[in-house]
């Protein structure tokens, strides 16, 4: 609603009206929460003053869940129940995971997303991620002194629909109102762009713990436009640890390791990698459970040699993104480095060589994403007056397609399309009296369905029986601002709305989320109720506020009877809002939403007319 909220110049929202919004970087290795305070983005630290929360969760037999440093301390002692780098499993099946044998977990191959068996039961990556988000939410609420209006959670730009959906589900499960999923490199660009008031073409090279993203952005006058993005959602700092680990195993001539030794040596390998950032050599020493003592040392030269293919692997997506953007190396004015893994000197060198310029490192590569996310959350929550905010235009990283005859893919929305984007297609029946059709939506760039990722299969039922080829079914694929897909279908000749059931191939159905929410409360009923009531009240308040400010700005767009109808719905919602019946609130809320539909559309039309009028005056 920030758009048409017109305040007197100089008059801004009173401090107590500031909506509490945070940005969360849900990382493979570490997670952070940040917010904007008095106009400055800051990372919120825990009670001990630590900004980073290791993305590690340990499930104990007594039901206790340790997250962060406490879990990290136990990872070698209890590897099976201590989950690290869960982000790599988001929206993924067992068959998708490389180095599965090197992960000490007891995987369960569930349909769609894999799960992990722990002493506290079988956990999905969504639940584990929610357990990382919960202490971050609590940290923010304690620090800001109240419940959060909403949060922006960052995802790798190259995350597909399943991985995004899983992340959003984790946010909901952690009790967050997810305002937006924001791409990590875009978040970093916001932090950099606003910090330096930059203009021009920038590349963001984001090598995190488990994912690699490369985004090309055009920055100009408060607009951040992503022109191309590319990457590898299974390549990150973890892989460098893995290389060091394998090298150490070979050097020390170790037999296959027990899970806890494997974890121990991986931790030591990571420490050695970090040590090599500022030293020429790093020791790897560990006492294994077998009594064996590992004592090897790795030097910079060896480290560079065994990781050279990984460094090279990041340059493929860089070239691809430049080609997609139709730009050359010379067009790029700056290269922003993001992610702890970019501290490795060989990465810095490779990027500098490729772009023929020194990369930008002036913001902390571990914090820059959370800071940018906090800035965006502040805008989305409506805390910025118009004119001081900015516009973010992001893209879909992978093409969406549907399966056609012979297992081929027909692209419906090409990669790097600015989101939101949609595409409608018409289909007809193949046989007389056919009442159903089935669809298969995939994501990826390849021509064969089997080479792409399956997103959803759905069946369209209830088509009125007609002669073959007579029905006209219009299917609309919509990708929203989070990069998430939804599908609707309608039979056009009879106007009958046919039902669509989208069965996610990966990700969770809404009923799963509800079940997990219920499971997460010990005293199921009251808590679920209390929560539903709180949520309904927050939604109700928000809608009332939004509607009132819309009326204050544009009531001229409404006829007297329309105004009266909306006023009546407002009064109804106000009446039930203080009650304890969340269903009544939901009903009144829906009624008010319905009553303001035309008004919303007219306001939007007016916005466009004003935009064009403004432009023409400006152009004269």
């Amino acid at each position: 609603m920030a758009l048409l909220q017109i305040a007197e110049p100089g008059q801004s929202r009173a401090p107590h009206e500031q909506r509490l919004a945070v940005g969360i970087d849900l990382g493979t290795t570490n997670s952070l929460v940040a917010t904007v305070r008095s106009g400055v983005a800051t990372v919120l630290a825990d009670a001990q003053g630590r900004a980073l929360l290791p993305s590690i969760v340990r499930y104990c037999a007594d039901g206790r869940v340790d997250v962060g440093y406490a879990a990290q301390a136990q990872q070698a002692a209890d590897p099976k129940n201590t989950i690290v780098s869960v982000k790599r499993f988001m929206g993924r099946g067992v068959k998708d995971i490389d180095h599965l044998q090197n992960a000490p977990y007891d995987f369960v191959d569930a349909p769609g997303m894999l799960q992990i068996r722990t002493v506290a039961g079988v956990k999905s990556p969504v639940e584990i991620s929610a357990d990382i988000l919960k202490p971050l939410r609590e940290r923010a609420e304690a620090s800001l002194g109240g419940p959060l209006t909403g949060a922006v959670i960052t995802v790798p730009a190259y995350f597909d629909d399943a991985q995004r959906q899983a992340t959003k589900d984790a946010g909901r499960l952690a009790g967050l109102n997810v305002l937006r999923l924001l791409n990590e490199p875009t978040a970093a660009a916001i932090a950099y762009g606003l910090d330096n008031a930059s203009e021009g073409v920038f590349a963001v090279y984001d090598l995190g713990g488990g994912t690699f993203d490369l985004s090309i952005l055009k920055l100009s006058k408060g607009v951040f436009e992503v022109v191309a993005t590319s990457g590898d959602s299974l390549l990150g700092g973890d892989d460098f640890d893995q290389r060091v680990f394998c090298w150490a195993v070979e050097q020390a001539k170790l037999a296959p390791l027990a899970p806890r030794d494997m974890r121990l040596l991986l931790v030591k390998s990571r420490e050695a990698k970090e040590h090599l950032t500022s030293h020429g050599e790093a020791p790897i020493t560990a006492r294994l459970s077998t009594g064996e003592f590992v004592d090897v040392a790795i030097d910079t030269e060896t480290f560079c040699r065994i990781t050279q293919t990984l460094v090279q692997k990041t340059l493929g997506p860089v070239r691809k993104a430049l080609r997609d953007a139709g730009l050359g190396v010379g067009d790029v004015q700056g290269v922003v480095m993001v992610g702890g893994a970019t501290r490795m000197p060989q990465i810095q060198r490779a990027v500098a060589d490729f772009f023929r310029r020194d990369p930008l490192n002036n913001l902390d590569p571990d914090k820059v994403v959370a800071l940018g996310a906090a800035m965006q959350a502040n805008v989305l929550a409506g805390n910025k007056p118009q004119g001081e905010d900015w516009l973010l235009l992001d893209v879909i990283p992978l093409s969406l397609g549907i399966e056609t005859m012979g297992g081929l893919v027909e692209k419906i929305i090409p990669r790097n399309s600015t989101i939101p984007a949609a595409r409608a297609q018409e289909f007809t029946t193949f046989k007389d009296g056919q009442t159903g059709m089935s669809f298969h939506v995939v994501q990826g760039e390849r021509e064969l369905v089997s080479d792409c990722r399956s997103l959803a299969r759905f069946e369209l039922k209830g088509i009125p029986p007609m002669a073959a080829g007579a029905a006209r079914v219009r299917v609309t694929y919509q990708v929203d601002a989070d990069g998430l897909l939804s599908v609707t279908a309608r039979e056009n000749t009879t106007g009958a709305e046919a039902s669509v059931a989208v069965k996610p191939s990966y990700g969770l159905a809404d009923t799963d989320i509800e079940r997990m929410l219920r499971d997460s409360f010990s005293h199921a009923k009251e808590d679920v109720h209390a929560r539903a009531l709180t949520e309904a009240r927050v939604d109700g308040q928000r809608l009332l506020e939004a509607t009132r400010s819309a009326l204050a700005a544009d009531s001229a767009l409404l006829a007297a009877d329309e105004k009266a109808a909306i006023a009546a719905r407002i009064a109804e919602l106000e009446k039930v809002l203080s009650g304890a019946d969340h269903r009544a609130i939901k009903q009144a809320l829906d009624a008010l939403n319905h009553a303001t539909e035309d008004f919303a559309a007219r306001r939007m039309d007016q916005g466009i007319r004003r935009a064009l009028a403004g432009k023409q005056i400006g152009a004269l």
Binding site: M1, A2, L3, L4, R19, T149, G150, L179, R180, V223, G316, R319, K320, R323, D324, Q376, V379, L380, A381, G382, L391, L392, L393, S417, T418, I419, P420, A421, A422, Q478, D480, A481, R542, L543, A546, T547, A550, D590, L592, N593, H594, T596, E597, F599, A600, A601, R603, M604, G607, I608, R610, A611, L612, G614, K615, Q616, G618, A619
Partner: protein, 171 residues
């Protein structure tokens, strides 16, 4: 239905003022984008999503020469018929076959230099075709005649995509 040009307050023409188009696009986006309505009610969020989607689609179409031309021809009642009309001048087809052979050769021998040469060639051909299209549509108003050129341009666009794919395959 409002044309893509109307949406941005532009005169329908193949020669499009890219600066004006971009400015209008950004002006509109800054008013309708979902980021402006993240905490608004459902009705406004839905309206915002629909408008932004429409604006993005129109912008993408106007920026792309093939889509811009097809849209213009459609406004004048001419169907480009990409699917059904595959007739092309023999000379153009011969040339395309040669280019395709060159592409295959470059891919097989992993010759990045040859790919670059090909890409430059296609770029040049595209620019020439686009000039001819502007002439045909904006000056001669020969919409039916323009349809042939649009199909040729589409051919070159496909070729361009194949060159990109070849780069990826080689790297």
């Amino acid at each position: 239905m409002q044309s893509h040009f109307d949406l941005f307050g532009l005169q329908p023409a193949f020669a499009v003022d890219e600066v004006r188009l971009e400015r209008a696009y950004r002006e509109i986006q800054s008013r309708v984008h979902p980021d402006r309505f993240a905490h608004a009610g459902d009705a406004e969020r839905r309206a915002s999503l629909q408008w932004t989607t429409r604006v993005n689609e129109a912008y993408r179409a106007l920026k792309n020469p093939v889509q811009r031309a097809s849209h213009l021809l459609e406004l004048h009642g001419v169907d480009v018929a990409f699917e059904t009309n595959t007739a092309m001048p023999a000379e153009f087809l011969m040339e395309q076959m040669e280019l395709r052979e060159a592409l295959e050769g470059a891919t097989q021998s992993k010759d990045l230099g040859a790919l670059e040469t090909l890409q430059k060639r296609i770029d040049g051909d595209k620019r020439t075709l686009e000039q001819q299209l502007g002439e045909r549509i904006d000056r001669q108003k020969d919409y039916a005649g323009a349809a042939d050129l649009v199909r040729e341009l589409k051919f070159l666009e496909k070729m361009e995509a194949e060159i990109d794919a070849a780069y990826e395959a080689i790297e």
